[in-house]
């Protein structure tokens, strides 16, 4: 559903384009949960921004459900993919239900009036993320973990075949990390969506995802969790002096 060929990502600076990373090709299938993994500053956010169409790739083609991303209008894009962001600068004054309802804007008329269909979609999104009891609370009054669920509910309400998430598990405790990941897995399998999320929680990702998109210096490749472990990719992910990966326990540990 998401096809990428010879993609070069980066951004355009004053003195010409700044190259960050290159991914030869990968495609993401409906019903699959994929984690985007890589060290800080490697270009995970840039890749997500490129996939969401908010910045252009330096080279290569990106197609989503047969449509070339760069040729889609912003409105068409808004019906194909939705985002879940950690730093969204939203109004704290919004009620949870309003925040989720705004996901329906791409389908609304010029003032943003909602139809019955939109309302049932919003209700479903609130139910799936277990937010019914919080629906009339203000976004400023709920916890980080709850806000993360609200952000996911908003993407659900937008009802797109593709969902991209930027570090949805940061700032959460282990329990809530697991909760969010299970929710994402559900979204992928039950609703047959493409779900791609950037994360630093590699160990948790190994337990639950179908594929891992590993970004290392200058390149990226799509692997299954088993490939990742067996081909020892994780050994080279970080510099060797402080941490190492134990393939038996599937966990990182600190060196003495």
């Amino acid at each position: 559903m998401v096809d990428v060929q010879n993609l070069k990502i980066g951004y355009r600076g004053k003195s010409g384009p700044i190259f960050l990373s290159e991914i030869h090709d990968f495609n993401l299938q409906p019903g699959s949960l994929t984690a985007l993994v890589g060290p800080n500053g490697i270009g995970k956010s840039t890749l997500l921004q490129t996939l969401s169409g908010s910045i252009d790739p330096l080279a290569g083609t990106l197609t989503m459900r047969g449509l070339v991303l760069s040729q889609m209008t912003p409105h068409q894009r808004s019906r194909q993919l939705s985002l879940v962001l950690t730093k969204s600068q939203h109004s704290q004054q919004l009620m949870v239900e309003e925040f989720v309802s705004l996901g329906r804007l791409p389908y609304a008329n010029w003032v943003g009036a909602l139809q019955q269909e939109d309302k049932s979609m919003i209700l479903k999104a609130l139910e799936a993320t277990d937010l019914i009891s919080l629906r009339y609370k203000k976004c400023g009054d709920i916890s980080d973990g709850e806000m993360q669920r609200v952000a996911i509910a908003r993407a659900l309400a937008q009802d797109t075949p593709i969902i991209l998430l930027d570090e949805p598990t940061t700032h959460l405790d282990l329990h809530h990390k697991a909760l969010v990941l299970k929710l994402l897995k559900d979204l992928a399998t039950k609703h047959q969506k493409v779900v791609l999320y950037a994360t630093h929680d590699i160990e948790l990702a190994l337990d639950i995802v179908d594929k891992i998109l590993l970004m290392t210096t200058k390149s990226g490749q799509l692997l299954t969790p088993n490939q990742l472990i067996e081909e020892k990719h994780l050994d080279h992910l970080f510099p060797k002096e402080h941490v190492y990966f134990d393939p038996k326990t599937k966990r990182f540990s600190m060196k003495d």
Binding site: S54, P74, S78, Q89, Q93, P106, G112, R154
Partner: protein, 342 residues
């Protein structure tokens, strides 16, 4: 439950506004019995032609000006707060009032330098309107063209503030070299005044206000998307540049034209959106836009009634009254709430 609550807050100001309008029409330095005010308004005639003249040619334009200015400034404040995601933003945040003062300062304080008949002509009321209009327009032209180039709203906000302090400094230099008499004239302009508008001025102000409001209403959906922050807004098909341009343009037209005709009026634009937010419990601009406009009108009419000093011939400067009455109200509201949220 939620729906009912929302509609109550929309309906309430619709009932309050007519009451405050009648109140504002019956107050003034000349005492006119309440019954006669109603009679004159309904066109039933009156025993006293002077009364009829005062109502028709002085108080009615003033009331309409107050409604347009209060509502328009409050809407501009709302647009700026949404655009900059900042509770401190107001209609004058982009330097509109500073631009207007610069225009007026050049005309009033600099007219001795220009001299002769030309200088005389510029010091007339219409000259002041044109000068302050041109002043705010040129500051806004700079800010609007910046808004077309700059994607980041914070940068735009700082550029607006810089333009503001730049024109403020120029006004300071001009004042330093002016005579006491000219300075007094300038200070009087900066007090603000709702009362000096002729019917033709009111008509022009109405046209500008309607134009600004149409742009604001047309941006409701994009503004609601902006409540989620710029990245989400963009991901839902909203063009940030277009929206920024539209909101800056609407604010310019509204606040620029109002300041040109009434002089600077502080507080209303900044505070009314906050007051309304405390009560409506929603951030939806479909609700906020009409409610903020109506409460802006009501609050400015009330301030004007206080400025009239009922049954007394003194009139206090409106620009001071709005802050004098309004600031304690906002402080009290926030004191109760303990925090200000945007």
């Amino acid at each position: 439950m939620l729906q009912g609550l929302k509609y109550k807050f929309i309906l309430l100001p619709f009932l309050v506004l007519p009451l405050v309008m009648v109140l504002s029409l019956s107050l003034g330095s000349v005492y006119i019995p309440f019954g006669s005010v109603i009679k004159i308004l309904l066109g039933l005639g009156t025993d006293d032609l002077t009364w009829s003249y005062i109502i028709h040619d002085y108080r009615l334009p003033k009331t309409i000006t107050s409604i347009l200015a209060g509502g328009g400034l409050a809407i501009s404040g709302l647009l700026m707060q949404t655009l900059f995601r900042n509770p401190l933003a107001g209609p004058y945040v982009l330097g509109i009032s500073s631009g207007a003062s610069l225009g007026v300062a050049i005309v009033v304080l600099g007219s001795s330098a220009i001299g002769g008949v030309f200088g005389q002509a510029l010091s007339t009321p219409w000259g002041l309107v044109i000068a302050s209009g041109l002043g705010s327009f040129s500051v806004l032209l700079a800010v609007v063209s910046a808004s077309l180039k700059i994607k980041d709203t914070m940068t735009l906000l700082i550029i607006g503030l810089m333009f503001g302090s730049l024109s403020g400094a120029l006004v300071g230099v001009l004042s330093y070299f002016s005579s006491a008499e000219k300075l007094q004239q300038f200070v009087f302009w900066s007090f603000g005044s709702l009362g000096s508008l002729s019917w033709s001025s009111v008509a022009l102000l109405s046209i500008c206000s309607v134009l600004g409001l149409i742009i604001a209403v047309g941006s409701i959906k994009s503004m609601n998307a902006l409540l989620l922050g710029p990245n989400y807004a963009e991901s839902m098909g909203v063009s940030l540049k277009k929206t920024t341009f539209k909101l800056v343009l609407a604010t310019s037209i509204l606040a620029g034209s109002i300041t040109a005709f009434t002089g600077p009026i502080a507080f209303v634009g900044l505070a009314v959106p906050h007051i309304v937010r405390q009560f409506t419990r929603t951030a939806d601009h479909r609700i906020m836009l009409p409610t903020v406009f109506l409460w802006g009108s009501i609050i400015l009419l009330c301030c004007d009634a206080i400025a009239q000093v009922p049954f007394h011939s003194t009139t206090l400067p409106i620009n001071a009254i709005t802050s004098l009455v309004g600031a304690p109200v906002v402080i009290w509201l926030l004191w109760r709430k303990k925090n200000i949220m945007f």
